[in-house]
Amino acid sequence: MSKAVKALIVIVLAVAVAGGAAVYFSRQPDRAANTPGTPGPTLKNTGGGHFRGPENAKVTLVEFGDYQCPSCKAYHPLVLEALSRYPQDVRLEFHHYPLVSIHANSMAASLAVEAAGEQGKYWEMHDLLFEHQDEWSKSPNPEPDFIALAQRLALNQNAFMQAMRSPQLQDRVLQDVVRAQQANVEAVPTFFIDGQKQNLPPSITAFVDTIESHLHDKASANTNTNK
């Protein structure tokens, strides 16, 4: 066998080994320094925010998010999945944290969702903004995209436009920004579960595990109280 053929075989084998290792590690749950559920700084009752899920839910998941942030978009399906798995036990409390220095359209997006909320469609717009993030986030003027989404939700267009320019809604978003800063939120998305800051979960499994451990802790605490 010539040396060139040997070299080619080694190259092909090496690519196959690297590929196999990459596939293996990409399927592993993350157990490194960012172990989900590791207790972090705690969050006191922030006030404000929008709620999704029953008021008497056992676990409250607080999210500080930015509609233009790709990570927030990536985590959005995980949040929805967690809410759908525990419809009675988990409640989402969402706070705006538009990072306007790097996401030029994020403030307008927060206003769009608040404006939709004025017509009772906050969560519908919240979901649509994440789903269509690629379309509006690159636009120099995202307003027509937001209006098109508002039309899909059958919102009153004039009221929506007026609300987007409302100082009260701007104040509401800015108050959330202050809350984020007071909670030492350094990046988006940042999640708190029952007031405890979470490292970003790498998968829905890790997310659900963390929520389940909180539900389990609550159940144990209730059992001990009843004894």
């Binding site: 010539s2 040396k3 060139a4 040997k6 070299a7 080694v10 190259i11 090496a14 690519v15 690297a18 590929g19 290792a21 990459a22 596939v23 590690f25 990409s26 993350d30 490194a32 320094a33 960012n34 942030c69 790709p70 990570s71 978009k73 990536a74 985590y75 399906p77 995980l78 220095s101 790097i102 690159k138 350094e186 990046a187 970003l200 979960p201 790498p202 998968s203 829905i204």
Partner: protein, 137 residues
């Protein structure tokens, strides 16, 4: 066996793994960071692809090329490692631009991308300088 070629082969093997891992993870939901914060932001940003092709795929092609040169050298199938310098220089320039984009445009860092930048820098430093092989008349 040249220790330099062996070191370059090892570095490029790690690079192949890194690039393959990113190519797989990129379309599989959130990409968690361990050291930095913002892997998903970086890897899903508009700078993360060129003509619809993820940059990690270009990285993979680069590392396979470097690995091939090193293996040919190690197995004595060809003295071609001295052709590495200019591709490594180009790789280093591109890596520097990408690190700059992370620092100034995205303000988020991806540890896998930073690892790749370190690997490219190491490969560049180890690559034989073409002028070193020119013998005086």
């Amino acid at each position: 066996m040249s220790k330099r070629a062996l070191a370059i082969a090892l570095l490029s093997f790690v690079g192949m793994f890194d690039a393959l891992y990113l190519s797989i993870k990129r379309n599989a939901g959130p990409i968690p960071c361990h050291v930095t914060r913002g892997c998903t932001d970086v890897l899903t940003s508009r700078y993360s692809e060129l003509m619809g092709i993820p940059l990690s795929v270009f990285g993979l092609v680069f590392y396979v090329f470097v690995f091939s040169l090193a293996i040919f050298e190690i197995l004595g199938a060809g003295k071609i490692l001295n052709r590495l310098f200019w591709p490594a220089t180009a790789g280093l320039a591109i890596s520097a631009i990408l690190v700059g984009i992370q620092a100034f445009a995205l303000k988020a860092y991806c540890e896998y991308c930073l690892l790749s930048a370190i690997l490219v820098l190491s490969i560049f430093l180890l690559s034989p300088r073409p002028w070193a092989h020119k013998h005086p008349q």
